[in-house]
Structures are given as C-alpha cells and as structure tokens.
Amino acid sequence: MSKIEEVKITGWSHKGLRIPDYEIDLKDPNSKRNFSLILQLSGEGKTTTLHLLRYCFYNFLKDIENKKERNERFDSIKSLDNTINKGQFVLKLKLNNEINYKIHLEFDFKNYELKYFTSAGDGEGMDAGLNLPDSLKYHLKPEFIEKSFFDLELVNELFDEQEKETDKTISNLCKIYFLDTISKSFDYYKEQREENVEDPNISESDVRGKKLKREKIQQQIKNIEKKAAEMSTKRKSLKSEYNKLDNEEKKIREDKKEIDRILTDAENNLKEKEDELEKTFSEAYDFLKNPMSLDQRLFDELKVFEDNLTKKSIPKSVGEAFFKDLVASDECLCGEQMTEARIKKINISKTKYLTDETYTVLNPIKAVIIESKKIPNDLINKSFGELIKKEANLRRAKNKLIDVRKNFDNERLVEIVEIKTEIKNELKPLNEFLEDTYKKPYNKGDTPDEESKKSLEKQLEKIEDEISQGTNTVDLSNKTKIVKKWIREIKKESLEEISKKLVDDINKEVPRVMPYEPIYVKSIKNKIELEGRTGAAQGQKARITYLFLVTLLNRPNLKFPFIVDSPVTAMDDVSRVEIAKTLSKDLKSQYIGFLLPPERPNFANTLDEELKKNINLIVAFSKNKNTQNLIDQARNYDTVDINKFENGVVAYDRDFFYSFSGTYSNDEEGKE
C-alpha cells in the first residue's frame, strides 16, 4: 500500500456497552468535509466514546499489567445491564480518501477479554488482530493518540512549568520520541554482540552476574517510569480539581472582603503554626534517625568499632567468584591437585574472608560512622522541649479560626477549604516522588533498587562499561555512546527548532485571534510563557492553546483526526468565535468535537458559517423515560428517525441541532 497521508473517521457503532446501541455516520461528500460536531448531554457517554475511539488505534491492555486496573477499565465500558456480557465497538476509517478500513473491538466482559478484528476494503471478511497498514502503525503510538484526542485540561497543563507539558506535546505530536527507539536499538545490537563474545576478560560467572545486574537496573528504570507516569496523571487531575475549587473560592470571598481579610489572617496564622509543629516533629525524628548525635556513649562506642575495623583492614574483600574458580580448577593454590577434601576445607575457610556481598554493605556503614558528628545536648533537648510549646500554639490558632468561621457562615466555602486541604495532602507524596525521589542525583552507594531515574541511568552506564570491558566490546560500546550522544543532540535541536517555529507561527495569528488585547508568546520551553505578563484569563489561555495545537497538528506528514471533548467549555463568547475561526481557517486535518449544549452558541454557528455549512451537525442521545421530552422534540423533524435504534437516537438535522434544548424530563435544573 502506498504511503498513508490522511486518516479520516467516517463513523462508528456500538452495542452492549455503557453507551446506547447506535451508529454515528460522519458524512464526507466529495471527500471535502473535515468538520463534525456531535451534540450530547452530560453523562451520555462522551468520555466512554473517546476512550473507545482511542482503543481502536492501539491495544490499551498491553500497558495494563495490574489485574484490578484492567478489570476496572473493562467495567467502566460495560453496559449497566448485568445480563449483557458481550460488547462491540466498530470504527470506520477512510485512508487517503480511498480505502475503507474497519476496526472491530469485541469485548468479553465475563472473562475480561478483548479481541481485535480488522477488515480492509468493502468486503465482509475480517482478519483477527489490529492490522493497520505498516506505515500507519509507525505513526499511531499511544503517545500520539493521547494528544490527538484532546480535552481542555491541557490548557492549564501547558501553562504549568512543573508538568513540562509543552515539550511532551511537541515530542508526541511530532514523534520526536522515535529517536529514543532508534537509540534503544543500538543498545540491543550491542547486547547481542556481547552474547557472542568467545574470549571474555573475566570469568563467565562474573559476566553473568554483571548482566543480571544490568537487567535489574533496566527493569527498575521501566518500573519507575511507569510509576512516574501514573503519578503524573494523578497529579494533573488533582491540580485541575484544585484550580476549579480555588476559582470558586475566590469568587465567594471577593463578595465579602472584610470577612475575607480576617479569615485569611486566621488561616495564615494556623498554617504558620501547623508548619512549625510539623517542622519540630520532623526535627525530633531526624535526631532519632541520627542516634550517634544523640548520645555520647553510643558515639564513642561506634567510633571505636569503626576504628577497630580499619585497623584490621576490614573491609577488604575476596570475591565469591575467586573461591568458585578455585574449587573448580584442577590445582589448589599450593600447587597440589584439587581434592574433595580440599574443596570442603576451602568452602569452610572462605567464610573467614569478607565476601563481596558483605563488603558492599559494610563500606557505607563505615563511611556513616566516620562522617558522624556529635550535636550539643542542649540543642537536642531544646528541640524536644519545643514540641509541647508548638503544640499549644497550634491549638490556640485552631480555636481562633473556628471563632472566625462561626462569624462567616458559608457552608460551601468551608467545604471547598476542606476539599482543597485533602487535595494538597494527596499531592504531597506525589510531588515528593516526582520532584524529589525521581530526580535525585546519583550517589556512590546507590543500588539498583533506587527510584531515581538519574541514579539508575548512571548505574546503568557504569555496569555497561564494566560489561564492555569484561567482554572485550569497549570499541563497540564507545561507538554506541557516540551515536547515542548524537541522537540526544538531534532530539534537543529538533525540539528547539520546532519550538522556535511554533512561537513565530502562533504570534503571527495572535492579532486575529485576540484582536482586543493581543497576548504574545515569549517561549514554549517547558511551558507556554507569555510576553510581558505572568498570567492570562482562562479564555485567552485556551485560544493560545488552540493555536499551539493546530499549528503543531499541521506539521506532520500524516493528517490525523483531531478529536476534542467539550472544546469551548467555560469560555467567553469572543474566545468561542475566535477558536471556531482558527479551527476552520487553519486546521488541515479532520476535526470532531463532542459538544455540550451550553457550548453551542458562538462556536457551532461560527464554524457552520465559516465552513459554509460544510459540516456534520449531529445530535445523539439515549432513549429512556428521562429523555422523553427530547424524543418528543425529535418527532417534530421529518428527517429524524427516532425508531432506527432501540435505545438511542441519532439526528443529522441542522435545525434540530440548533433547537435541541438539552434538558432531561425529570431534571428541572438541567444536567449540563
């Protein structure tokens, strides 16, 4: 098959899943229609549909080893009707505007199994597996798919330095991560060569030991990368929730400024006292973790212990490998022939020599004793004495805050403060791991159990050197290092060059997208940084984010659908209009937006107008007693067939799209 340059989704259908059993058809007259908006009520399965669309391009189960997590993923898709144990999702694609493809996902909810089938062309035959053309598979890595299926949470993440989301997004959409794959293939080649070396410099058991250590480090790197990715996702979601609550709190407090001031003072005072007590507890425990500093007698005792070891030249090891090789040889060290009796004697006597294992543990112990210093007793006593004082201070601060809150009767505010505290507490261990443990620099005594990526990479480099020296592959190892260094440089330069071009392209569009208050982008290294200002309103940030993404998506050779969940939620009118104009003017690939009814004004009509009605405007909802009024609305439109699907309705009528009122029958306030 020729190179795939464009992928378009032409529709999908589902059965036996959490979403109603219906089919969505994205019409594409003359292969020139790129835009589709699907209007759905909140809670009607938008997120489930987005997940299923993602799963059509890569087998998501491959990355989920944990059985519980795997089952939870299945259960979130499963129909709420417990009698249904099988489900199906079918995605229809058109490649290069000429070849039809279908991807079938068959879910077995009883056994938690998923099977993929693919059919190419218009025939009925299906092949087992997810068999997309090779040139497409090359592009469709999970990293790429995740960014092409976008939700507005990314807006905050792109402006948050901690997440470094701009670099990740550029790397994923421009597929810079492929350079890592290339880099790894050199490692693989080197490892293969090491296997075939016939005359190693060290014993086979030593080579084996070092390779085992390398495997352990490599596995640990994979483990911690996975852990960091999971924690990062959790952190993003918590931060997003925190930001929403923070905005709500600000609004409430702005209304009552004087009380807000008193409350803020009391809160700051409490926070100060909390920090003081926490710090004192921590200091006290730190003293306990340094027992030599606590007690002069113990200090002296351990110093004598270390001194005695040093005088006796302990540790100085004789490796286990030495004894192994010795008992395996024909001759003993004394020149006599090796006998069973001698082997027995050697195995008994070797315990008197320090083994490598003991040596490795003992060395850091000695170092700690040598470095240890005695801390003055009065300092330690003062720290423990402070505990009672700080605890009393905190109690007073708490009582004060309770008094202030009594005068400020706002249940929602109290609730928000409590939830925010909970989130902050949940964020604490995540930040500790991601910002501290994961990034900790390498230390000499580090082991393969470390959770610091830097340390593990350094350990890997060292063991690689030892292996290449032991296996006579130093020359190959050096060449590999050079190539990998070049790849790293290429990666860095590519990222910089793409980023620079992106900033230029975004800034060219700024006067059009933000005509009243143009905000220019200064840099997109790690995060989006604005020219001459530290922040911007959410709508302005969203407009810049769209410019960033549209510009990025137009770069790759492959035109792939850009799918957005709630594309303009919580955005002002001007932002909606300008985002619609940006999309219609600049996006070269297919666009599918899952829209909530409140997002329709200023966005859907602008797109419709800009595209001269060359857009699919679709309404989809489930059929049940709660949606009876929606069914009644649909009845008024001749083109809407409410009986086509058993438990859902899909309408392609432009007028119905604009008039769809979007409330449930028994929901007075609406659920939007």
């Binding site: 340094n290 027992p291 909970e422």
Partner: protein, 168 residues
Amino acid sequence: MQRFFKIKEKKNDKNFIGMGTFWKSIKQDLKTTDQKKYSPFEDELDLFYICSLVGLKLKLKENDEDYNLTDLTDTWTKNLSEKSKAKQYILAMLLNITTKNHFNNKNKIQEIMNSFLDSTSSTSLSASGLKELHQYCFGGYKRILKECGNDTPSSLVVFLNKVKKILD
C-alpha cells in the same frame, strides 16, 4: 525473600498491644485534625526502626518465638535508607553488639559479618542478621510499651518525649 515483621500479638497474653495497633496511634494521618496530621512517621517501618534503636541502644532482646508475627515489608524505606543514614546506624549498632566479644579476632569478626550481611537482600541483612535485629526490635518495643503504661501513647508529643527519655 528476607522480610521485616512486626508483632501481631503475644502468645498467651491477650492484653498485649500489637505493633499494628501501636503504629495506628502515631502514624501520619492527613485526614485527621489531631497531631497525627503532622506526624513524621509515614511508613510502618518507622516504628520498627525506633524499636530497634531502643533495643540496640539498651541491649534488650526478646525471643521472637514468644510472639505471633505478621508481615511488614521486604525493604528499607527511602526515609530510612536514602533521606537519612538511619539504616546504616542500625546496621552499625547491630554489628557492633554482635562482634564486640571478638574485638581482637579479625577472622571471627569477618565470619559474623558474612553471616549477618547480604548485599543481594533488599534489607542488606541475611536471614540470621534479620532474626537478630528482630529480637532487638521486639526488646525495644517491649520497653517503649512499658514506658507508655502498656498502652498506646495519648499523643505524638508524648510518644516522642518518652522515646527520648528512654534513650537518655
């Protein structure tokens, strides 16, 4: 795999407070409004460490056979092994005690160290080294429990001051 254990209960003593119950009274609990919210003790191995410290410092050993034990963890926590030198101090104290009687016998010292230490174990201790440490840990726990009136401490401030008093 070598692991750390804690005392679940004492055989033939229903009133004995297990280490799990004791731990609950001092561990960090971010959801509470009392002192435990600010507790520096995040991992159950922190209690194991403090008990070992007390046991080794006061040279108190308890026979682990007298207790029903339950699983704790198979490795030192980051707080004890990376963010501090606590692990190294405990190992130093253990080796100091166990080699003390062979001060001038290099071979014997090395033999003991070989039998107690193991770099391939995530605890850095062999089975016999770990058994020895547990005995000191349980000795220390018994002493702390006695200081707390054979009950859990009323607060974290009380607990830390009692441990300090025992060690002084």
